[in-house]
């Protein structure tokens, strides 16, 4: 009956209570949403590369190597010579190796030279392979396969010509050797979407007439001649390696790091991702902190609402007192009321979250390549909800204590 009366009292003030519930619900939605995006981003970050055991590049930092080889952010400080690459490829621990050659670009997108193995070996989102949605893989020297974002941003179709620029954000183009779009990849949510993939030989081919980063004036070798040339690269930027057995990963890493002929670096993608996430994590914590503050603000709003309701409810408290309710009962009523408000707010917040996720999930996936799973609330989220209700009870103690004092002083009479 007390619960029924508390609910009755709340519904008698339904407008202000609804506002409070809404504020709490929205703050809870925000908090859980940020949490969702955070874990989703972290997962999709970790999903960028899977199935690769080691990444090899010139010696620099592990995060830097990861950034330029997988995320195409920044540049390599140095290359790996073809001889070293061959040496590593020949090692018994190596099951497969895929070279990566970076340095050129097309419009705002990076061009990456690699072998056909890349399409087979590169995996994302827990083992998913790249799929060609339109056209076919690289067959000719001047064929290119483009990522989904490249295709949408530039409006390319299979068969369109592409001119690759030398370097990045550069105006000197490899006009003499245009490429042809042979295939378009499925959207992956990884940096591959923003990459123009060509064969390793093609990277050599477009640089035949180039020396020291500039085209030799007047020199332009026809494509037919280039096709006849020996196009083995002199160096690659990095390489992805799969080992025969996971147990050999560390031995191979050590061997590469101590490679005597050239300073090389091998990193485990997972470890490098962790390092990278630790750097990004500060912003993540800040975001979480801000949304937690929003929840606190909503709860303080509720406290203010309870406070302002106290005066108009002195009659109600006097009736309870006259019926024999103790001041602590009055206090309990107010806390109960706050707990109900906070609980309804929290539940509504969860409802809003799932509603929002259902609507926004496909949009976010296609726009940002970020997949936010719709699943039952995690233990952590349940604790957050419980925390909101508990915090609601705690902040309500302040007005509840005032009600206690008022009802003790007023007794059954209402002095206004």
């Amino acid at each position: 009956m007390i619960l029924r009366l508390a609910i009755g009292s709340l519904s008698a003030r339904s407008l202000t209570v609804a506002m409070t519930v809404l504020a709490i619900a929205l703050s809870v939605t925000l908090f859980l949403g940020v949490e969702k995006v955070r874990t989703g981003a972290k997962a999709s970050f970790a999903d960028t590369i899977s199935g690769t055991d080691l990444i090899v590049g010139a010696r620099s930092g592990s995060v830097q190597l990861l950034l330029y080889s997988v995320f195409r952010i920044g540049n390599a400080t140095n290359n790996v010579t073809w001889e070293s690459y061959q040496d590593i490829a020949a090692r018994p621990e190596v099951a497969w190796i895929v070279p990566i050659s970076l340095g050129d670009s097309h419009r705002q997108f990076r061009v990456m030279g690699t072998t056909v193995d890349f399409f087979e070996r590169y995996k994302y989102r827990r083992g998913r392979a790249l799929e060609v949605v339109d056209g076919a893989l690289i067959a000719d020297l001047f064929d290119t396969v483009i990522g989904a974002d490249v295709a949408t941003a530039l409006g390319y179709k299979v068969g369109d010509p592409i001119v690759v620029a030398h370097g990045i954000a550069s105006f000197s183009e490899h006009k003499d050797q245009p490429f042809r779009v042979s295939g378009i990849l499925e959207k992956t949510g990884t940096p591959v979407d923003r990459t123009v993939l060509v064969s390793l030989e093609a990277i050599e081919a477009i640089h035949v007439d180039w020396q020291n980063g500039a085209q030799v004036p007047g020199q332009s070798t026809p494509a037919d001649v280039i096709r006849q040339m020996e196009l083995t690269p002199k160096a690659v930027t990095a390489a992805l390696i799969g080992v025969e057995s996971p147990l050999q990963t560390f031995a191979l890493q050590r061997a590469i790091n101590e490679y005597p002929d050239e300073p090389l670096l091998a990193v485990l993608p997972g470890v490098a991702l962790q390092e990278l996430w630790a750097i990004v994590g500060v912003a993540e914590t800040a975001l979480l902190g801000v949304s937690a503050m929003v929840v606190v603000t909503a709860l303080i709003g509720m406290m203010a609402t309870i406070f302002s309701s106290l005066n108009e409810r002195r009659r109600e408290m006097a009736i309870f007192r006259a019926m024999g309710a103790r001041p602590t009962t009055i206090m309990g009523l107010l806390v109960l009321e706050a707990v109900l408000t906070a609980a309804v707010g929290a539940l509504l917040g969860v409802l809003f979250l799932y509603l929002g996720l259902t609507i926004a999930q496909p949009v976010i996936d296609s726009a940002f390549g970020l997949w936010l799973p719709i699943e039952a609330p995690s233990m952590r989220e349940l604790w957050v909800l419980l925390g909101v209700v508990a915090a609601g009870a705690i902040v309500s103690l302040v007005p509840a204590f005032r009600a206690y004092r008022l009802s003790l002083a007023d007794g059954m009479t209402v002095r206004t």
Binding site: I319, A322, M323, G411
Partner: protein
């Protein structure tokens, strides 16, 4: 104190509102035997509300003793006095007696929530509440929200609430002042019928001496209590 002694007994009581030096109430002696109906007459400001608060135990006297059904209130803790009030006293206010958002049934049963002994005397709360409402001439309103009732109906619901579980004392604080003359009379008829049917002691406070003829005894506030006022 024996069962034959007064149900309500105040002796040499002095009271001062905390923080207010300008007002003090003293009651040398006041007693009511069981089953008596008493009208206490006094103008507003005569200390009526304070006296009722003393009797109900929401405030404690500075000195002297307040005995209700044989128990000395000053020996009880705050919580015990609240429980005691719930068990012994049915309270009717001037107006706004009911929780407007609650149903009539919830309002009538509310005191039982705080009074286990009274609850024990009511086997079926809904049936009891229904009978009381019928006896008080109320239509079938148990499920209605209290705020939908007229003032006269609300006052009768308040009587039902005061009577439920048969507390030994009913205290009514100007229960008729919000009613017009004809409703007043009808209301008092019903109240007296209930009180007499159960042998309940009734202490009613009013400023209206015309109500006096129904009561066993009419006392002026000035005769039992002195108020000291100091110029601020």
């Amino acid at each position: 104190m024996t069962a034959d002694g007064p149900i309500l007994f105040l002796n040499d009581v002095r009271f001062r509102w905390p923080g207010r030096v300008s007002f003090a109430l003293s009651v040398p002696e006041f007693s009511v035997p069981p089953g008596e109906t008493v009208l206490l007459l006094g103008e507003s400001g005569s200390g009526k509300s304070t006296l009722l608060s003393l009797i109900c135990g929401t405030v404690l006297a500075e000195s002297g003793c307040v005995h209700i059904t044989g128990a000395d209130l000053s020996n009880l803790s705050g919580g015990q006095r609240d429980r005691f009030r719930a068990e012994q006293i049915g309270m009717i206010f001037q107006q706004f007696n009911l929780l407007p958002f609650g149903s009539v049934l919830d309002n009538v049963l509310l005191p039982l929530r705080f009074a286990p002994a009274r609850r024990g005397r009511v086997s079926n709360g809904r049936a009891e509440a229904h009978d009381l409402c019928m006896a008080l001439g109320l239509p079938d309103v148990l499920g209605n929200k209290a705020s939908t009732l007229s003032v006269g109906q609300q006052q009768r619901v308040a009587v039902a609430r005061a009577m439920i579980g048969r507390p030994p004392i009913i205290i009514a604080d100007e229960p008729t002042s919000a009613l017009d003359a004809s409703s007043q009379s009808a209301f008092l008829d019903l109240l007296f019928a209930q009180v007499q049917a159960h042998g309940t002691t009734l202490l009613m406070v009013s400023h209206d001496p015309r109500l006096g003829e129904r009561f066993d005894r009419v006392i002026a506030m000035d005769d039992i209590a002195q108020i000291e006022r100091q110029a601020a």
